[in-house]
Point group: C2
Chain length 344, copies 2
């Protein structure tokens, strides 16, 4: 990574930003080096995740939110990451989003990036976090992360955000109740978009009931991040003071966008005052370290353990002469009794 390219990014050069984003997304050595250096300049951006089922008008809503943030805070910059994890193998289809976003591109303080998963199953959240850090270091004050659907990978992606907006539409029927229940738990702000459609009030009532039944983030926040990295890690404290507001919007007519922006900014203030902002940042760093630590421990292990031993243990387990547990005990004992140096 040439420091000239990083300096250009720091000075607001969009081409440099674009090139570094590509390097980071592709996981090149230059990208990794850039990310490590840029990390030291992160920590300012407000990351906002937006998710909801296909057809709920997320892209239009994200566009409107970006516009309103820019209108209110003209000195601040907005980045949009459009994540489409629908197809891990084909790379997804984000052309529709691109077209819808074109009208924003005239504002040079808004930067839009589309991202597909490129087959890195399970790595989408990691990749999104990396791109967010680049935008953060490049001085973008708001990073909007738009993802489709309500599966685990979407939860992982929006979970790295400070504020999560869950978008729904009126009267989508009881077929998708189960999806709603799962996704509600990560919502800080709920939006019923396309609020000129019939059934909007029932949808709002339904969502309010779900929240009152305890499905919302305020009850269960922060259980995702760390499990067994060490006893020293901490979970996010539950933000008992925040009850997700439920807003009605008609994004294509720019209706309700001011209220949505208010809610987003209020949530940011709440996070900072309550210590949640700090806790979320810490949890993200812990998760990052844990992920890299696992990769490093496995890499060290693989350098030590003879391939024949691993092959043989797998074969014995497949023949049902030993259990996988026994295979792991053998591998761990070998790992403990051999240092990296002496095996070389």
């Amino acid at each position: 990574m040439s420091s000239a390219l990083l300096d250009a990014l720091r000075k607001g050069n969009r081409l440099a930003l674009s090139r570094i984003l590509s390097q980071v997304e592709n996981g090149t050595e230059a990208g990794k080096a850039a990310l490590e250096e840029l990390f030291l300049e992160t920590g300012n951006a407000h990351k906002i995740g937006i998710t909801g089922p296909p057809g709920s008008g997320k892209s239009t809503l994200v566009n409107a939110l970006a516009r309103e943030l820019r209108r209110r805070e003209p000195s601040k910059k907005v980045a949009i990451i459009a994540v489409d994890p629908s197809s891990p193998f084909t790379g997804g289809a984000v052309l529709g989003d691109r077209v819808r976003m074109l009208d924003l591109e005239v504002d040079k303080q808004i930067f839009i990036r589309s991202m597909a998963s490129r087959g890195a199953l399970g790595g989408l959240a990691e990749q999104t976090e990396a791109l967010s850090q680049v935008f953060d270091a490049a001085g973008y004050d708001f990073v909007l992360i738009e993802t489709v659907g309500a599966g685990q990978s979407e939860v992982d992606v929006v979970n790295l955000a400070h504020t999560t907006i869950v978008v729904d539409t009126p009267g989508t029927g009881d077929d998708i109740q189960s999806i709603k229940a799962g996704i509600l738990e990560i919502a800080d702000v709920l939006v019923v978009n396309k609020a000129d459609r019939p059934g909007v009030d029932q949808s709002v009532t339904h969502l309010r009931n779900m929240i009152e039944m305890g499905y919302a983030r305020s009850i269960n926040n922060g259980k995702h991040h760390l499990q067994d990295f060490s006893e020293n890690t901490v979970d996010e404290p539950a933000p008992a003071g925040w009850i997700p507001p439920i807003l009605k919007t008609i994004a294509c007519q720019y209706q309700g966008i001011e209220e949505l922006t208010d809610a987003v900014l209020t949530h940011a203030a709440y996070l900072r005052e309550s210590g949640q902002w700090h806790a979320k940042d810490k949890a993200a760093i812990q998760a990052n370290i844990r992920r890299q630590l696992i990769a490093g421990l496995l890499s060290d292990f693989n350098q030590k353990a003879p391939g024949e031993m691993i092959d043989s243990l797998i074969e014995q387990a497949q023949n049902r002469t030993i259990s996988p547990n026994e295979a792991v005990r053998v591998l761990l004992t070998y790992n403990r009794n051999n240092s990296l140096e002496s095996s070389e």
Copy 2:
């Protein structure tokens, strides 16, 4: 774990089976010991995953498939695991399934188990695999694993199956095309259920086009399992010889169930002849070993590394004085230079 309980399970005692399933699901020491012992008796069951969007009639289809398998092979036993990961915190609502399944319970060669995720995010596939192994060891020839939705956790769950059935309904609209594309890739058998509804032929044509466009498992099989465990691990070879059939069913009228059963049994024969059965079994064992190895390496690491060091590194990263990468380098160096014994 008393060997009496395990012996009772081996003799077909349903109460013993139920108790061991609970112990395994709850992760008790007795459950872990039972699972390790029972693993040596696994490897016979045909695991069949069934997934699709809510409202597609999966439960009815699973019931019908279980009945038909029993009718055709009266000497064989069928287990059903109903996974509801919709709500990681509330435990999900599987009562509906339970009611629908009650009519099967009179057949004592069919065993039904409902499972919610109990907050073990990311561990659902592991838990499902464990229950499958108990059923396998208990002499169940078919294990039907029913899961809702099309997110990553569902993909993980059905990915452990030998045969994956993806269920859809006619004319669910273009809103969910993105979900279909993602889930099609894991399908071995495609079912358009509720085939008495309008639009069934369009749905079949659409699915056929998607398959011809290369979205199906035959092109992309087996990329999920292992990534960096070691250079010695192998991916499943691509089963280029299998093209997912597309079947029409009306499960509530038992229509198309014979053809579905034919397809499932044909797929099992195909897997055995092509070597895929063996490869899938090996991949599952590798993934199991890798998962336990990571847990063990982390545990060893945590016993060695002083908590103050970890805390300090996290704090420095949060203050942006070092990167997470640098923190990991320090931790890995410490881990390499200190053996478990000498630190005690």
